[in-house]
Amino acid sequence: MSKRKITKLLVANRGEIAVRVCQTCRELGIATVTVFSDADADAVHRYASDESIALGGNTPAESYLDVAKLLAAVADSGADAVHPGYGFLSENADFSAAVEAAGALFVGPTAEHINAMGDKVEARRRMIAAGVPVTPGSDGPVTDGKELTAAANEIGFPLLVKAAGGGGGKGIRRVNNAGELEAAWQRAVSEAGSAFGDARVYLERLVEPARHIEAQVLGDGHGGALFLGERECSLQRKHQKLVEETPSPVIDEAQRAELREAAIAGVTALKYRGAGTMEFLYDENRREFYFLEMNTRLQVEHPVTEMVTGLDLVHEQLLIAEGTRFGDRTEPELNGHSIEFRVYAEDPYRGFVPSTGKIQALRLPHSPFGRIDAALRDGMEVSPFYDPMLGKVIVWGPTRDAAIRRLRAMLSRTRIGGIHTTVPLGIEICNWDDFVQGTFHTQSLEAYLDREHLPIAPPPLPVQLAAVVARAFTAKAGAAEAASLATPPTAGNPWQQAARLEGSKRVTR
C-alpha cells in the first residue's frame, strides 16, 4: 500500500482511550470524530473530539459494537481513518475489513492478523511454527467430551479452559480436577458463544505460580519489527490486571533478550502491522517464557512503555497505518521505571462489586513524571453499561523505588468521591511488602485480598475518633445518597449482611 496521510480520524470507542487517541490527533493536526451512546450523551470523550456522532442505544451491542452504525458514522463524517481503541471492536476482523472496504484506514492490523491471533488455537499453531515457545495444551479446539477427557489427561490438572475467541482475561475458566471438567467446559462453550460469537474452547496447562509478562511490539506490515520492552502484569485479580510496570522486577538483560527474540520472531513471521502485545507466562523457577496470546491492538497499559521509551504509541500506530516503513530505525533506549495503576469503579473491599453513581469531589492531580489517563468529570454519572475501568494513574521514576513512592503520593492525592474505586487499594499495594520487593505472581493479589477487614484490636485513637465523626457525617448525608449506593439497606445484623454481600460471587468471562 502506498503512503496515505490521515486527515480525519474516527475513534470507535469511549472513555479514556477515546480521549487518549484524540490527544495525539490534536497534536498532529488530525481532525477527530468520536461516537457516543445515549448513556454517554454527556460523557467526557464526546467533547475531546472536533465532532461527535450519536449512535443511540445504551448497551455495547446497541452502540459501540454496532458495526453498521459505526460505518455510517465514518461515511457521514468523512473520516479517512478509524482507531478502534481497545475492547469493543478492536479485535474484530470483520470490522477491520469493513473499514478498509469503505476506503478508510484501519489503525490496527489486517483482518487476517486479527483472525489468526484472535483464534487462540491458530495463534498457538503460528507461534509454534515461528519458533516461539508455548505452554503445553490441546492441539486445537475441544469439540466433544471424549476429546476433552483425553486432552485434559495429557495436560494434567489444574488446567484452564479458554475461549478461542476470548482475550484480555475474559473467557478463561480454571479446572482443578477431573470432576469439574465437564461442567466447566459446557459453561465455557455457552458463555463463549454468547460473549464472543465463537463457541470454540481449548485447554491449556495452568502454570502456577506464574508471572504474566508481555512484550510490546510494533510491526510495519512488511516484516519490519520493533521490540519496546516488556511489561510486568502479574498483579491481577481474577485475570483482571490492576498494576502494570516496566521493566519487570524479575528479568535481567539476558532474559529480556530472549523475550525480545521470541517477540520479534512472531511479529516478523506474521508480517504484523501495528502495535501489538505478545503475552507470555513466565515460570520464575525454570526461568522460561511461554507464549499465551497476542493482543492485536493498543493495550490499556501502553503508557508505561511510553514513559520509558519517550514514544507516543498512538502516534506510532498512526504512522504505521499511513504506510510508514521502519527501514533502519533502531529500537528506543529503555529509560527508568514506570508503573500504572488501574482505577476501577469497584469496591475492592467487597469482592470488587461494581459501584455506580455520581462522581463527586473529583481531584486528578498533576505531578512531575506523573500522568492520569481518564475521562472523568465532577458530577458525571458512572453507568452500569460499560467496563468499570475509569482510568489509570501512571508514574515514571529513575528507579523502581522512586516510581513506587511517586505512585503512592499521586494516588493519595487522587480523589474520586461518590463511588467506590480501587484507589485506596492502590495506596495499600504501594505499602505492601510483596509489591515493594517485587516478589509477587499472578495469584499474590488474590491471596493478599483474602482477609478480614474488621480489626482484631482497637486501632490508634485518631482512627476511633475519625470513626465517630464519619458516623455523624454519614447520618447527615441521609437518604439522598441512598439511591446511588451499591449496597442495599438491610435489617438484621452486620454479619448477616456481610455474608449476603459475599453471596454475590463474580463470574469472569
Binding site: T59, K170, A345, D347, Y349, P354, S355, T356, Q360, A361, P384, Y386, P388, R415, G417, G418, H420, P424, L425, I427, E428, H453, L454, P455, I456, P458, P459, P462, V463, Q464, L465, A466, A467, V468, A470, A472, F473, T474, K476, E481, A483, S484, L485, A486, T487, P488, T490, A491, G492, Q497, A498, A499, R500, G503, S504, K505, R506, V507, T508, R509
Partner: protein, 175 residues
C-alpha cells in the same frame, strides 16, 4: 451522643459533644476528653480532623449503612469499624434478631441486567445457592440465596434492568 466503636473481638464506648457550628468536638474515651477540630471540605465528603495538634484527612466512602461496618479513609489508609450510636443500640435491643425467622428479601447487590434466572418461585433453596445471574459492567455475577427457605416471590424476569438495592425476590423460612 454516645457511640460504641467495635472490631472483631472488642468494643469501646465514646461520648461526643459538638460545639456551635459543629467545628469543635469534645470526645471522651476511657475517661480522657480529647478536643477535635472538624473542618468539612468538598461538601463534607472530605474532612480535616485536628487532634492533639496533628491534622488528619478523613475521606467518607459511599454506601455506609447503620448496622454495617463503617468504612472510611484516614490519611489515605482504609479502615472498617462497627460504629453504633445510641439510636442503633436501642433499635437493636427492641428489634431483637430481626430476620432470623420469617422472610427475607433478596436485594440486588449492584445495578445491572438480569441475564438468567436459575430458580423458580416456590422452589426450595439452600443458603448460598445461586438464584440468578446479573450482568453488570461486562461481568456476570451470581446472586445467591441470603438464607435457606422457599422462594416465595421472584420480582424480576430475564432481561430486566435493576438498580442497586432493588428487591429481586423474597425467601420464606421453611420448605
Amino acid at each position: 451522643m454516645k457511640y460504641e466503636v467495635s472490631g472483631s473481638d472488642w468494643s469501646r464506648d465514646l461520648v461526643a459533644r459538638t460545639g456551635p457550628l459543629r467545628r469543635e468536638w469534645q470526645v471522651t474515651v476511657d475517661d480522657v476528653t480529647h478536643t477535635l477540630l472538624v473542618e468539612g471540605l468538598e461538601g463534607n465528603q472530605v474532612l480535616r480532623l485536628t487532634v492533639d495538634d496533628t491534622t488528619h484527612t478523613l475521606t467518607l466512602l459511599p454506601g455506609n449503612r447503620p448496622g454495617q461496618p463503617l468504612r472510611f479513609l484516614l490519611d489515605d489508609n482504609y479502615h472498617e469499624l462497627m460504629v453504633r450510636d445510641e439510636t442503633d443500640l436501642l433499635a437493636e435491643l427492641l428489634g431483637g434478631a430481626s430476620g432470623a425467622g420469617g422472610r427475607e428479601e433478596i436485594l440486588s447487590p449492584m445495578p445491572g441486567v438480569i441475564r438468567k434466572l436459575l430458580v423458580e418461585p416456590g422452589q426450595v433453596v439452600a443458603e448460598d445457592e445461586p438464584l440468578l445471574i446479573l450482568e453488570a459492567m461486562k461481568m456476570e455475577n451470581e446472586v445467591r440465596a441470603p438464607r435457606a427457605g422457599t422462594l416465595s416471590q421472584l420480582l424480576v424476569a430475564e432481561g430486566d434492568t435493576v438498580a442497586a438495592g432493588a428487591a429481586l425476590g423474597e425467601i420464606e423460612a421453611g420448605s
